[in-house]
């Protein structure tokens, strides 16, 4: 193997530097795994929101929609979950013969809670990406500083110092910084992209909540017999 190859440098690095490299590698692997998970989940949510909105505004009977959703085996998430929670609360409140304002309030509150839960699910683990993005350059820098310190210390007893004596050590140390940046850059980019995406999704959910509340209000004004009528 060549003297200055990457693998040679890593194998020759001092223990703390190797440890730093290992930590950074782990961080990088985890952050990429998270990026993959988040990416797929957000894509799924986006698609779900789109299809559900299509179904909701297609003129289907809300009770039918609800019964379809609640009988499905799969776990419900996203807009479906918000709708299900809101409608269930609405039906229960009406059954309890509350005043129409109270009924609307209960449904609205329930939907808000569901939205909050969805937001939590969306933002879950996102902070890990932020942490990796901001901290791993420092960890890499630590490894580099340590490596440079080592290489200068080996110079201490030498009468005539040449560049050739320090250069390998510094090159070795700089691998740590490179590794830190390599871990940090994708994490930061992904974090920013996901944050915007989540913001748009949340706005969409909240819009839906308001619209659905309006519909429920109209239904609450109507007599209970026609509650299950189509919109």
């Amino acid at each position: 193997m060549n003297e200055m190859s990457i693998s040679h440098l890593v194998a020759n690095a001092s223990l703390p530097v190797q440890f730093v490299l290992l930590v950074l590698l782990l961080a990088s692997v985890l952050s990429w795994a998270l990026i993959y998970i988040k990416w797929t989940y957000l894509k799924q949510c986006r698609r779900e929101a789109k299809t559900f909105e299509g179904r909701f505004w297609s003129g289907i009977n809300l009770s039918d929609l609800f019964s379809q959703l609640s009988t499905r085996q799969e776990k419900r998430y996203g807009m479906e979950s918000v709708f299900e929670n809101g409608f269930r609360e609405f039906a229960r409140a009406r059954k309890a013969e509350l005043s129409s304002a109270d009924v609307i309030n209960a449904a609205h509150r329930s939907m808000k809670v569901a939205t909050a839960r969805e937001i939590e699910a969306l933002e879950n683990n996102l902070s890990f990406l932020a942490t990796v993005g901001s901290v791993s350059p420092y960890i890499g820098l630590f490894g580099t500083v340590w490596g440079i310190m080592e290489s200068f210390r080996s110079l201490a007893g030498v009468q005539q110092a040449t560049l050739a004596m320090v250069a390998p050590g510094i090159s070795e140390a700089l691998v740590a910084t490179a590794m830190g940046l390599l871990a940090a850059i994708p994490a930061v980019i992904a974090y920013n992209a996901f944050a915007t995406e989540i913001d748009t999704l949340v706005a969409r959910y909240e819009n839906f909540v308001e619209e659905f509340t309006g519909i429920l209000q109209r239904q609450a004004q109507a007599p209970a017999s026609t509650a299950a009528a189509s919109i």
Binding site: S5, L30, A33
Partner: protein, 308 residues
């Protein structure tokens, strides 16, 4: 987070694959030779070598030419040499003849010369002898002269030395006298200064004493007037005492101004008058204290004159 990851093993696989790919790429990229600045020195070296070769070729030709020329020259020189040899032999023979002739002539001349030389020698010897004699006489004379001069010089030197010594002696004496004079002067001056100082000190002391005396006097006057004032304040003069003459009272006081005794000195006046004075003095017990304790007096003589 771990829970989340466990639920998605595909994510881990994806991430690991990505990293493996990147690492492999990095290793492959870096395993090549590190880039070095390429400097082709070979071209330069070739040029110099070529140039050298050309030079050598030229040099060979030139050398050959030079060799030929040298050969020719050498042949010419050889011919010339032979010619010269012949000339030289001829000249040698001629020379030998001439030399024999010369020798003969020279011998004859030498004989003549030798005779002349002998004569000249004799003459020269006689001259020399004479010269030597003259020289000796001259030398003796010079020696005598020198001796004389030397003696004169010695004498002069001795004289000079004596004079010098005298001068030095005189100087030393002068110095000694000067030193003595100076010393005396200094002593006198010191004495005078000491005297002056003493006088000044005395004067000062006197002045201080006078000052003190004056101060004490003024204080005593003050003290007396204080006592007199106090007694006067306490004096109830009798209304019908008639004439009111000057009255001398002698007071004996103890420490702290306590009145021990009152006696009358010259005090012409009625009995009432005297009693009133005595009462006033006794009433003034204790008498005021002086500002300076040195002014305290046991016996005080006071003179009273009633105001009109």
């Amino acid at each position: 987070m771990l829970h989340n990851l466990r639920r998605h093993p595909r994510a881990i696989v994806f991430s690991l694959l990505l990293h493996g790919l990147v690492i492999v790429l990095a290793v492959l990229e870096f395993s090549g030779e590190p880039v070095k600045p390429v400097v082709s020195k070979r071209g330069v070296v070739d040029q110099t070598i070529k140039a050298e070769i050309i030079d050598q070729k030229k040099l060979g030709q030139r050398e050959h030419n030079i060799k030929q020329q040298q050969q020719q020259k050498r042949l010419q020189q050889l011919a010339e040499k032979r010619k010269q040899e012949l000339h030289r032999k001829k000249a040698l023979e001629r020379k030998k003849k001439a030399e024999a002739e010369k020798k003969r002539k020279a011998e004859a001349a030498a004989k003549k010369q030798a005779e002349a030389k002998k004569k000249a020698e004799a003459k020269r010897k006689a001259e020399q002898l004479e010269k030597q004699k003259a020289e000796q006489a001259r030398k003796q004379k010079a020696l005598a002269e020198k001796k004389r001069k030397e003696e004169a010089r010695h004498k002069a030197e001795a004289l000079k030395k004596k004079k010098e010594q005298q001068r030095l002696k005189a100087e030393a004496e002068k110095k000694a006298r000067e030193a003595a004079r100076k010393k005396a002067e200094k002593e006198a001056r010191l004495k005078a200064e000491a005297e002056q100082r003493r006088k000044e000190a005395e004067l000062k002391a006197q002045l201080a004493a006078e000052e003190r005396q004056r101060e004490l006097d003024s204080l005593r006057n003050q003290y007396y007037s204080m006592i007199r004032d106090k007694i006067t304040r306490n004096w109830r003069q009798p209304v019908n005492a008639g004439s009111k003459p000057l009255c001398e009272v002698r007071v004996i006081q103890g420490p702290g101004g306590i009145i021990l005794d009152v006696t009358f000195g010259n005090c012409p006046g009625t009995r009432e008058y005297r009693l009133s004075v005595e009462a006033a003095v006794l009433k003034s017990d204790p008498l005021p204290k002086p500002k300076d304790p040195a002014l305290f007096e046991r016996n005080i003589i006071l003179k009273f004159k009633p105001n009109e």
